[in-house]
Symmetry: D2
Subunit: 157 residues, 4 copies
C-alpha cells in the first residue's frame, strides 16, 4: 500500500460520499460507507435474507459488489475533482463462507497512476459478540485485486 497518498482534491471525502449516494444498488443492499481515508475506504452491509445464496450465507455477488465498490472508491479518493472512475477488471478469491451479522469490505490503493490505479481488497464476515464467545468474530472471507481507470475531465455527478 502507498505509504502516504496525498489526495489532489481536498474535497475527496464529500466527492466519494456523493458518488456513493448516487448508486441505487448500494441503497438496495443496505450498504454504507464506514471509512473514507486517502487511498483506503471501508463499506459495510448488514445481513438480510434477501442477500443470500442457496446455503443461507451472503451471496458471493454481494461480497464481490462491496469489494469492488470499496476498492473503486479507495482509488477515487486520489483522483482529481473533475474525473470519474471505472473498474477495468477485478479478481476475487472467495476464501471462506461469508457467514455473519454483517460484511465489511476494505479497499486500498497499491499503485496510483495518472491513467490506471491498482487496488487490493479484503472482505470480512463479522459475527456479533455473544455471552458465550465474548468479542466479535472476524473471518476473512474474500481477498482480491482490481484495476481502475481514471477518466479525466469527466465529472462524476
Amino acid at each position: 500500500m502507498l505509504a502516504s497518498p496525498r489526495p489532489v482534491d481536498p474535497n475527496f471525502v464529500d466527492r466519494v460520499r456523493n458518488s456513493f449516494d448516487r448508486q441505487g444498488f448500494m441503497a438496495l443492499l443496505g450498504a454504507t460507507l464506514t471509512r473514507i481515508e486517502p487511498g483506503s475506504v471501508d463499506i459495510e452491509v448488514p445481513f438480510r435474507a434477501d442477500l443470500t445464496q442457496q446455503h443461507g450465507y451472503f451471496h458471493a455477488g454481494v461480497t464481490s459488489t462491496v469489494a469492488d465498490t470499496a476498492a473503486g472508491y479507495a482509488g477515487y479518493t486520489l483522483f482529481p475533482a473533475d474525473s470519474s472512475v471505472l473498474t477495468v477488471e477485478f479478481k476475487i478469491n472467495l476464501i471462506a463462507p461469508a457467514q455473519g451479522n454483517r460484511l465489511s469490505a476494505t479497499g486500498r490503493v497499491i499503485k496510483h497512476g495518472r491513467t490506471l490505479t491498482i487496488c487490493a481488497f479484503e472482505v470480512y464476515a463479522l459475527s456479533a459478540a455473544t455471552p458465550d464467545f465474548g468479542s466479535e468474530q472476524r473471518t476473512l472471507c474474500a481477498s482480491g485485486m482490481q484495476t481502475l481507470i481514471c477518466l479525466h475531465g469527466r465529472m462524476d455527478g
Copy 2:
C-alpha cells in the same frame, strides 16, 4: 468449451432450478434462469433504477453477480446429484458500460474435473428493438473466468 458434456445426474435441470430458487439475492435482483443446458446456463436481469451505479448504468456488482452465478450453475449441471458447488475465485473484465433494458449472462464450462471445474462467462447488455434501430442491440459488457469446487456428498438443499 466441452464438445458434448454429459451430466451424470439426469435431473440436473431441476437441481439447478431448485438451488437458484433458494438464492434470496436472485429474487432481490429480479434475475431469472433463462436457459439450462449441460455445461451452459443463462441468467437475465431486467433494468431497475435500484440496480445502478453512479452514472445510471447497471452496477458492476450486478454484472459480476449474474456472471458468477451463471457460470457456477453451468458447472453445477455436470456435478453429481449429492454435491454442492462453491466458487473458488473469479476474474471479470468490465469491457463496456452495462447500459440497456436488461443484462444477459452466459456461463459455460471450459474444463470439468472431479474436484475443480473451470468456466468462462460473458455478459451482454441488451437494448429493446425500436422503430429507429429495428432489431435489439447486443453489447458485450463483461467477460471473465471462474474456478469452481465440487463438494461431493454434500447435498445442496
Copy 3:
C-alpha cells in the same frame, strides 16, 4: 472475438515480428511466432529439459510467458505504428499438465479500445503423431485473459 478487426497499420506483421525479435527471452525459450493475423497471434515453443518444472512438464512460467506474449502481440497487431504495448495484468488457469513435444499459445483480441485492449488466450500441449495414436494429440493446458495498454506516440523499437 472481434468479427473483423482492421489494423490501422498495414505494416503490422513486420512490426510485430521486429518487436518479438528484440525479446531476448523468446530466443532463450526457443519460441517462434507461427501465425500473425489481425487480432490474433500464435507462438510455439518446443520441449526442452531446461523448460520444466519439478515433474518434468513444461513449467507454468513457460506456459504463462508464451500466453502473455501471444495475447500481447495479438493486441499489438491492431495498434498504430507509433505505439508500444504493455501488459497491465493477466490471469491464467492452468487446466492440465503441460506435457508434450511442444506448446502452442493462441492470443486473440476480445475488445480493442484506444487506451485499453482486452485479450483472451489458450495454450495447448501438442504430442507428436505416433504409429500407435496416429494423429497429433492436442490438450488444452491453459486458458486466460489479459488487459493491455497502448502507449501512443512511443515507437516500440
Copy 4:
C-alpha cells in the same frame, strides 16, 4: 497472511529446496531460493540480456514465473511430506517496468486449506547501490494472487 502457520512437515525447508532444484527452468533463469520460512518464500533472479522483453527490461514472463514459483513454494512449506503442489491459477498486475539489477519475488500464504491454498505475491526490481543514490532502490513491479491445490499422497520427487 497467516499469523503463525505451522508446517506439519518439520523437513519442509529441504523438501522445498529439493523440489526447486528439480525445476530445469529455474536453472535456465539463474533463479535462486533466498528465503524459505513457514508460509513464505523468496526467489531472486539476476538481470541478463536473455531475460528481457523488447525494451530491455525483465520480460513479464520472467516476473510471472518467479512470482508463481515463490507463491507455490510458500504454500508447499505448509503441505504434508507426501504431497505435491500444483498451481490452479494466478493473476498478476504488472505495476511498473521491471528494470534493475535483479528481481526479487516474495510469495506468502493468505489461507491454507486441506485441498486449496490461497497465496499472494509481490515482485520487486532492485537496483544496485551507487555513489550517487547511496542505498539500493526497490521498486514494486508486480503484485498478484494465486490458487494452489495440494495433491495428497503423491510425493513430489
